[in-house]
Symmetry: C2
Subunit: 258 residues, 2 copies
DNA sequence: TCAAAAGTGTTTAGCATACACCCATGC
DNA sequence: GCATGGGTGTATGCTAAACACTTTTGA
């Protein structure tokens, strides 16, 4: 326990020295697997309390760079779809009952705890990652890091439940005017693969033919000669993103639903 | 000059005591007047450098409350349309040439200046206000506060030009799925009034008949018996927002263009 | 009486939706 | 050969866009 307290003091020193105060980052990391949308959560040491992964910003580090770095530390991924969606700054989000209880369970001395648990403004990012590639790793305060089904998320610490809700809402809206899929699907993928990604995110099924028409209409897909063999049924065509046009579409989103 | 330096030290003390560090707020305040869209800018003391108005967050103050308070201090307005649009956190935005020049012109001792000019993460808000009601007042660093035509904005300090650009882009998009106009137009207004507001924001003209159909289709307008007299031409009907339905529409934005 | 603004309705086109049949493959 | 999934085109409806004439009013 003295060991733990010592580590904790080290952490505080590191935070004070290398990171800017009052600002944190929180992540809603969406994972896509098996037709299910999942969110990565952390369980706090010695408790049953879960929260979103987070991070802080170093001096001389850009906000976005801090976001990518933190996300990499938590998931091992480096090339990801990452999007800022809202900045949360309510004071009350830090003064809820469960958090005080949690602090007690963590066994942190109150004077030390208040040093890292002060009131922050938090920049919310959501990420879309390939489920299978993630190597989740907990941070100092937490001991477990795992995926939760989007519709089975427990009550979270702080205001993290509303963060998840808003992130999902933003992601779904974004889907209607921005292309999504690059770095989330393998280089070559089939139309049903892409459709399943969309259906998973939207939480509803879509018409195959209309979906295909819409996607091809965007003009960012390139159909290959190859087909995907080995499946149990008719071999579907493989597609690839036309990276140039994909980036173009990301840039001037007006191409999609003006 | 000693007086000034003294005031400045007072300011630093106030900032350190009452406000959280590392986070600031910047405002893109859009004013609507005479078929022109304008932005409120501040000129820094003794210089020709302009910037957006800003603010900081008190301890124990919600982010949004801080935004409303700061905006009120700068414009005198309290009931306004205020919307968070992005959080800016690049480091370089603080190390550009013109700013160092500006500091020199301000005549601030470098060691003191660095205390308030450190690297911040800034939450961007845009506001829509009724031009005529605003009483612009500069802050400690600035001596002039006035409206600029949206297409004649000079090069601004920091990354404020890109803030304006993004704010405008966000506002225009928002216009397609949220109602706008309440607290911006007088209680009773005509359809051409409302249309001019939209045209001003979008920077393009719209078809009268289609516009009217769309607005009435939203079901948030109530047509009054009265007409607006005194104009030089045919008297237009007056309308009023159905406040209940207006708020409803703001809440579930899905009513508009899903 | 003329110019300028406001009221109003219909036609058209484009896009999203709904929908059904044939083909390939593994079991 | 059959079940499963994948490939493809057309008909329909709704919403947005285009468009013109009449009315009111003050000058």
């Amino acid at each position: 326990m003295a060991e733990y307290k010592n580590q904790f003091q080290q952490l505080i020193l590191d935070l004070k020295t290398n990171y800017i105060p009052s600002v944190s980052i929180d992540f809603v990391i969406f994972g896509f697997h098996d037709g299910q949308l999942k969110v990565l959560l952390l369980r706090w040491k010695g408790t049953d309390e879960w929260s979103l992964p987070g991070g802080r910003i170093r001096h001389e580090e850009d906000l976005q760079a801090a976001a990518y770095r933190s996300l990499n530390e938590r998931t091992g991924l480096s090339e990801i779809f990452l999007q800022q969606f809202h900045t949360f700054g309510d004071v009350v989000r830090y003064i809820n009952f469960s958090q005080q209880e949690t602090l007690a369970k963590l066994g942190l001395p109150e004077d030390l705890a208040s040093e890292v648990m002060g009131r922050d403004v938090s920049v919310g990012y959501y990420a879309l990652v390939e489920f299978a590639n993630v190597i989740p790793s907990p941070d100092f305060f937490t001991e477990e890091c795992r995926w939760w089904d989007i519709d089975q998320i427990p009550p979270l610490l702080f205001d993290h439940n509303s963060m998840v809700t808003l992130a999902l809402k933003t992601l779904r809206r974004q889907l209607s005017y921005q292309p999504i899929g690059y770095k989330l699907l393998p280089d070559k993928f089939t139309m049903p693969d892409l459709q399943q990604l969309y259906e998973t995110i939207l939480g509803q099924s879509l018409d195959r033919r209309n979906f295909q028409k819409r996607m091809l209409g965007y003009g960012i897909l390139e159909r290959l000669e190859e087909r995907k063999t080995g499946g149990a049924h008719k071999a579907p065509y493989l597609y690839r993103f036309d990276k140039e046009k994909y980036q173009q579409a990301l840039a001037d989103e007006t191409l999609f639903v003006g």
